[in-house]
Amino acid sequence: MAQPAVVYEECVTHESSWDADEALTAVYTAHYTSLVRLGSLLLRDTGTAEEIVQDAFVAMHGRWHRLRDPHKALAYLRTAVVNRCRSRQRHLVVVDKHTPRTLPDEPSAEQAVLRTAETDRVIEAMRTLPEKQRTVMVLRYYGDLSEAEIADTMGISRGSVKSHAARASKSLRQLLEQNV
């Protein structure tokens, strides 16, 4: 993730002896914000992203005795968040077909500060991608994950990650060049 893992670097000597509460606090402090941001990029709805990330942390707390390692915990959280966002998105697509324009697409007034025209175009273009392609692109460019990590997180093969990425890049390049 983009955020440096400050907290558990500091406590690295203790981490194996952490109980679930300590692990929760440390991993939360280091990664909550970036996971919500990841979810928001996938869903375009911060409120729902917050809910999903919170659910994932509650689940992580429950299985800490099996994870026992903040790095594993982070991978677990990321997978949980991505999966939940994806199924949520598929649900929204169905809903959207029946009631167009109810997608919580628009950032709330408070967030509507300072988005550059360039970012605007990229985000608009991302919206046209199919769900899997968009997820791959977000994990690649926001999450800075490797192909293998994306494959693990999404539960698909590396080959599929490659082809989704290739197709997504192609459509995005075309769209972005057109609109210049």
């Binding site: 929760l24 606090t25 909550y32 941001r37 928001s40 990029l41 500060v113 988005r115 985000i123 490797s146």
Partner: protein
């Protein structure tokens, strides 16, 4: 994916745009809620104490009763008048004085099994009553003060620090949550810091005239005597603030045992009393707005100061254009902690608001606090 050519402008554009989009999102703190939910959903099988809960119920009820009484009629759920002067908290951040502790039973925490209160097992040097302590009741939502250290400017010593206060919304057991924030979190204001990082809280319990804060592990940092004293008061102020009780002394223990020297300096064989605000508290601070808050162009700044002739100076600077507004206001009273407030009208953008006190002798800056805000 790192297997791309690093300088492809398309990759750069994607990376920059997604990060820019993501950075606009600032989720609010959800840790207390997550913790409460995590504890509520623990599978019963892993809670052996549940089996004895029925037996303990009567005792628990009595215990909560006792706590409520102690915390009772003259409870000032805010951070009492000894700190800030009456009325500050109501004017400050609009802190809800909701002190209706919806008594705990909702989310009992395993670590605080009512049958075996984690009391201080008497060690050689234990002072004060070490019988059964009672955890404070959990509440659904409340706002607690959390204290931090801040550098005292113009002080003769480099390590001189004073206490600064921030507010945090918590659910669960207020004092426990406040100490957890103080020991595990980074203060939102970059000028503040804590020397309590690395400490692991166990419980906050209360028995006859004493509040026991038990740590699984105390901080191991060694500090000089003055800083250690203020850091110990950071804990006292935070716990007392959350309990709304400025009088009951705080006993610090580690795994139930008292007597370790805190920061290599402070004797904890007996309970710690609250130090005079004038000795440890920052002489001026800003309660509102909070660091990084999004505000309208008309900003009301509120805080507490103990100032010579009640004069509080302030300055606001636009971080981009360097436009500066400078003036002063008066606190309600001079030479003692009392509230002040003033209004600014700022253009959109990022601003830094500073308040400061000047020395009566040579006009140099003696105390200060500052907040960065974003004006809509």
């Amino acid at each position: 994916m790192n297997d791309n050519k690093p300088n492809d402008p398309f990759d750069e554009l994607m990376r920059r745009s997604l990060h820019e989009e993501a950075d606009r999102i600032e989720p609010s703190d959800a840790l207390p809620e997550i913790r409460a939910r995590a504890h509520a959903q623990r599978p019963a099988a892993r809670r052996p104490w549940l089996l004895t809960a029925g037996l303990a119920a009567a005792g628990t009820a009595a215990a909560i009763g006792a706590f409520t009484m102690l915390n009772g009629p003259d409870n000032i759920a805010d951070d009492g008048d000894a700190v800030a002067g009456p009325g500050t908290t109501t004017t400050a951040t609009g802190v809800p004085e909701s002190q209706t502790p919806s008594i705990a039973s909702a989310t009992p925490e395993p670590s605080q099994a009512p049958t075996e209160p984690p009391t201080t097992s008497p060690s050689a040097k234990t002072a004060g009553p070490t019988d059964r302590g009672v955890p404070e009741p959990a509440v659904k939502s409340t706002v607690v003060p959390v204290y931090w250290l801040g550098q005292q400017v113009g002080a003769p010593k480099k390590s001189a620090a004073r206490l600064y206060r921030t507010w945090a919304k918590v659910s669960g057991r207020p004092a426990e949550q406040a100490v957890r924030i103080m020991t595990t979190k980074q203060p939102s204001d970059p000028d503040y810091y804590s020397v309590w990082r690395g400490a692991a809280l166990n419980t906050v319990t209360r028995s006859n005239g004493i509040v026991t804060v038990d740590f699984k592990q105390l901080p191991t940092t060694a500090l000089d005597a003055d800083l250690a004293r203020v850091a110990a008061q950071q804990l006292v102020y935070t716990v007392q603030g959350a309990l709304g009780d400025n009088r009951t002394p705080i006993q610090v223990t580690e795994a139930g045992r008292s007597g370790r020297r805190l920061f290599g300096q402070v004797d904890t064989s007996g309970p710690l009393s609250r130090a005079q605000a004038a000795d440890v508290q920052a002489l001026v601070w800003i309660d509102s707005p909070a660091e990084d808050q999004l505000v309208k162009s008309k900003v009301t700044v509120q805080g507490v100061a103990s100032a010579f002739e009640a004069t509080v100076n302030y300055e606001a600077t636009n971080l981009k254009t360097r436009e500066t507004k400078k003036s002063f206001t008066s606190a309600k009273e001079g030479q003692k902690f009392s509230p002040y407030s003033f209004q600014l009208t700022l253009t959109p953008g990022e601003w830094q608001i500073s308040v400061y006190l000047l020395s009566a002798e040579d006009g140099s800056i003696t105390n200060t606090d500052s907040k960065s805000v974003v004006v809509k």
